[in-house]
């Protein structure tokens, strides 16, 4: 569905993506994991066309059409939506108007109305806050709104950038449950996350990004059982030391 081939992205002089290739299959949930600054969000921004003149090299195909170098306004009309990191809702528009802006590219009024109902069913709290300014919502509610707004675009493929950012553990679980539901309704999902355990638990495929390169790819279940992933991304210790702390550090196999 989405086919990224060997893209390289620069932030002026900083070499952020060093040849990234990725294929997302229809109907799956794919998770990209990695440390801060690995370039996870940069992949999404590059594909969405939010970085001017990027990718510097490589091609991106969505549904068989080249989209690299296109504007986000065009890309979103092709069925690719993006929930940005840090929510980015319209602070001084009401919740309802925010969702309405999600439907900006659509004209099918009846379907828009149905989607409103659908989103209020996913996130009942948004219904309660319908007339309130989005800036006055809590972080979790804003995240729900950002997801709802992206769903109003009627995406075929949905990018989620750190949906768990700054949310309480219970809320994170709820949001991920809904993400899984959305996927089962037929939306393909590409997820970028720090919370590896949560992300892998709902994903089919997981990839690990380090310093602008993918270093590992596999079925989510396999990755969860991988010793390296457990230690470096889930914070599990492989061995207890007798003195109560670990004196050696495990080497990463992929370096």
């Amino acid at each position: 569905m989405l086919e990224i081939k060997n893209i390289e992205t620069f932030y002026t002089l900083i070499y952020a993506l060093r040849g990234v290739s990725l294929a997302v299959d229809e109907g799956t949930v794919t998770a990209i994991l990695g440390n801060n600054g690995a370039g996870k969000s940069t992949i999404l921004k590059t594909v969405m066309g939010l970085l001017d003149d990027q990718p510097d090299k490589g091609t991106i195909e969505f549904l068989g059409k080249r989209i690299d170098g296109k504007d986000p306004e065009v890309i979103v009309r092709m069925g690719l939506s993006y929930v940005p990191e840090g929510r980015e809702v319209f602070d001084e528009l009401s919740v309802k108007e925010n969702l309405l802006m999600g439907a900006y590219i659509r004209r099918d009024r009846a379907a828009i109305k149905r989607d409103f109902e659908q989103i209020y069913a996913y996130f009942p709290v948004l219904k309660e806050r319908e007339a309130q300014w989005a800036g006055t919502l809590s972080g979790g509610e804003q995240q729900m709104l950002a997801i709802g707004r992206a769903l109003m675009n009627r995406p075929k493929l949905l990018f989620l950038d750190e949906p768990s950012l700054g949310l309480s553990p219970i809320l994170v679980r709820d949001i991920f449950k809904i993400i899984k539901t959305i996927n089962q309704e037929g939306v393909t999902i590409l997820l970028v996350e720090q919370n590896a355990r949560m992300a892998l638990s709902i994903s089919d495929i997981g990839l690990i990004l380090e310093n602008g390169r993918f270093v590992m790819k596999g079925e989510a279940k396999e990755l969860m059982e991988d010793k390296d992933v457990q230690e470096f991304y889930m914070g599990m210790k492989s061995e207890e030391s007798a003195k109560g702390f670990q004196r050696w550090k495990r080497k990463k196999r992929w370096r």
Binding site: P72, V76, P84, E88, F90, D91, E92, E97, A150
Partner: protein
């Protein structure tokens, strides 16, 4: 006398309010105060004058023609000059708008000369009605009504139309607007067209009271700017109220203190507002993320 001063103050204030609105609409989208606003309105008024007097078209045709011209001028300036600015910062954009101001001023002086002309208007400035002890001319009433109607239409536009809401959305978060498919460049063009048309209304309502020459909008622009600062550069309602307050205050000052120094009221207000409440009287200040 007090009532009279207030009534004519309100009538003048509504012109300031229009100019303030025009500036605020642009300021909200691009954070640039457009100092070319006044000359854009002045040129549009001249276009109406030319259609009306030189070519002898009817009022309706001329005014509609002038509005179309105003919209086109706004779009043209934004598209050809502001959008081309490479890595712009606010200051350089402001300088570009000052550039418009001078270019348009020069253009008008060259095309129409510095003669003072009478701008014909369908409503008379000399027929009056009595409101208790005050008199108010038909033109003043028309100004007031047109302004209020326009504000009401703007309110509806920003509240209920998709484009209006998209305009607000673009103002608040351009990136989020783009990923939802809003063509922000097009929104910017619409913003400039809308603002230029509102300015043109102000110009055409002012011209029959004053005389039409290239200096028509110099002072009103500064007053409108003061009104916008007074009310708050980020709120439409505030800017409009600022216009009325300024109009009335200025008139009262002119009536009771000194007619010669009437004009300084506006500047005094800018200074005071910037000292004590820089975001303006009516701005609901939403703290922005850095």
């Amino acid at each position: 006398m007090f009532l009279q001063l207030v009534v004519s103050g309100i009538s003048f204030g509504s012109l300031y309010a229009l100019i303030a609105l025009a500036m605020v609409i642009i300021y909200k989208t691009s954070e640039v105060p457009n100092f070319g606003q006044g000359e854009m309105a002045m040129i549009s008024t001249f276009v109406a004058f030319t259609l009306l007097v030189t070519h002898g078209y009817s009022f309706v045709v001329s005014f509609i023609g002038a509005f179309i011209f105003a919209a086109a001028l706004g779009i043209f300036l934004e598209f050809v000059f502001l959008r081309r600015a490479k890595d712009p910062n606010i200051l350089s954009l402001i300088l570009i708008t000052l550039g418009f101001e001078m270019v348009l001023y020069g253009l008008a002086s060259w095309k129409w000369g510095a003669d003072q002309r009478n701008f014909p208007f369908p409503v008379s400035d000399f027929d009056v009605i009595h409101l208790g002890s005050a008199v108010i001319s038909y033109l003043n009433i028309a100004t007031l009504l047109i302004t209020l109607l326009l504000m009401f239409m703007l309110f509806l536009f920003f509240r209920y139309t998709k484009v209006g809401i998209a305009m607000k959305a673009t103002q608040q978060n351009a990136m989020a607007a783009r990923i939802n498919g809003i063509r922000t460049n097009r929104i910017l063009s619409i913003t400039w067209a809308l603002s230029s048309m509102i300015g043109a209304v102000a110009g055409m309502l002012l011209a029959p009271i004053a005389t039409l020459d290239p200096n028509l909008m110099l002072e009103p622009l500064l007053k409108g700017f003061a009104a916008a600062v007074l009310g708050g550069m980020t709120t439409l309602v505030g800017a409009a109220l600022g216009g009325y307050i300024l109009g009335v205050l200025e008139n009262l000052f002119g009536g009771y203190v000194s007619l010669e120094f009437k004009s300084i009221v506006a500047f005094l207000i800018i200074v005071l507002v910037l000292c004590f409440k820089p975001s303006g009287l009516f701005a609901k200040h939403y703290v922005r993320k850095v």
